[in-house]
Amino acid sequence: MSTEPDLIIIGAGPAGQAAAVEAASHGLSVLVLDEQSQPGGQIYRNIARNAANESKLRDILGRDYMRGAALAREFEKADIDYRAGASVWQVDPNCAVSFTHNGTASQVTGRRLLIATGAQERPVAIPGWTLPGVMGAGAAQVLLKSSGVVPMGRIVVVGSGPLLLLVTQQLVDAGADVVAMLETTRTADYLAAAGTLPGALRAPEYLRKGMAMRRRVKAAGVPIHSGVRGLAVLGSETAKGVRFGHGGAMQEVEADTVLLHEGVVPNVQITRQLWCDHEWVEPQRYWRPVLDEYYNTSIAGIAVAGDSAGIYGAEYAAVAGRIAALDAACSLQKISAADRDREAAPLLKQRAKYQAIRPLLDSLFRPNPEILTPADDDTIVCRCEEVSAGAIREGVRLGATGPNQLKSYMRCGMGPCQGRFCGLTVAEIIAAERGESVRDVGYYRIRPPIKPVTLGELAAFDD
């Protein structure tokens, strides 16, 4: 690539697409790098194809999903250099981005960078979660959106959060056989969340939607057990069922597929690799980059918008992307600060509305403490290197004070996922064992390449 783009955006979900459209409309040259083959991110995954076909799938996925079609059309029409299937494996503080696209590695330096890499499902480390037949509830939804595929046989959904309810409802609507919903949300969580209700009522449609989803799942005859504890997936070669404690007794339910979900957490891999400042967020217990009012990180020229900046959902993400793009246009002197603030004003209003439900969701659907610090020492925590909760506790007894030391003792976080699926759990266990806060225990140092890159690709480096 010969010319330096004004703005490089990593990710083509709602935040990345909206930012690209907004920035291009102010005359910025924009390069968008996205790992998927189609724009939309995970929330609007495969939106263009699904919007083009009249189908039952559209009804199943619902109006909130179909809302992504308008943004996808804007994105397609705008003057944007969009590379699908581009995997970013290193980012430097001067906005140089190294990535592989069509088997060729290259590097491009932007004048500014916006990271919009979204969220991932929180790791749900319970016994048996590595067995074939177990996947994230979000993963099952990806299969539905991208391929019109649903699990066959008996499905048990386990965990908490709005997405768990939505996926369950969609599977039921698609005719899949959901035999039980095991909610980890307890009565105490409802009571603790009561104080957030007045704020949530400023945007009551979210509450109405949540209650409607629950009614549909119940009406379909799916038994819902709330406040379950002592969860374990049963089976040796593949998942055969779920064991759970409910109302003082242990029970078992047979299943062919087990879908786990305990909310989503920001994808901080790039901001961590960059050594941006991060902060710990309660009560959802995740890290996010420290940002100013225009989503700028602690590194000049680099901003983060969307769920990778903290979990606020798709509509908020698109607004945040536009706000970040306005600031990028201002800092590159395409618009004045006064223009930026004038154009941002209605966006800030929308943002406040999309934010209104979050304190309720964050408080009500706080992660089940059992998955944060798995009690059973045999539970795999690091899926890649197969490091158990017991091995992590042993590492702490041997003197490891934080995740990085533990990584060198036990190899957790050293596999291909680079801690994406164990980092939070490892830190929680260390904190619990040492009687410290996770905030003080910290997180893995993430080093490039953050995605696998072959020596062959590097040898053919095209700069």
Binding site: E35, Q36, S37, Q38, Q42, N46, R49, N53, S55, K56, L57, I60, G85, S87, G103, Q120, E121, T130, P132, G133, V134, M135, G136, G138, A139, A140, V142, L143, S146, S147, G148, V149, V150, P151, M152, G153, A174, G175, E237, D256, T257, N267, R383, C384, E385, E386, G415, P416, C417, R420, F421, P452, T454
Partner: protein, 98 residues
């Protein structure tokens, strides 16, 4: 075990998985096509050789690592199926090229 909704029945793409022919819908990822074909696991782990299937379907868990057209350690959930593609399980860690 997975099944397609009725509208997902345009199975016009054919690829090879471990010597078996697998049909898929255009736009399927390799990971989705393997799941729905019920062809067994996508990889085995380097430490204990345990079988794994995709967990996240969005490029973060790496349990869908496969060898695609001779290139090991590909995230099968990020690669769309193409006619004539050759797909193998990733068995343990990738080797070093001779």
């Amino acid at each position: 075990m997975y099944k397609r909704l009725p509208e997902g029945d345009d199975l016009s793409v054919t690829f090879d998985f471990e010597g078996e022919s697998v049909s898929a819908r255009p736009g399927d990822t390799v990971a989705a096509a393997i799941l729905v074909s019920d062809a067994g696991h996508t990889r085995t782990t380097p430490v204990t050789g345990a079988p794994r299937l995709p967990y996240c379907m969005m490029g973060v868990c790496f349990d869908c690592l496969m060898e695609i057209d001779g290139v090991p350690n590909q995230q099968a959930c990020l690669v769309e199926v193409r006619d004539g593609m050759r797909v193998k399980r990733q068995v343990g860690a990738r080797g070093v090229d001779e």
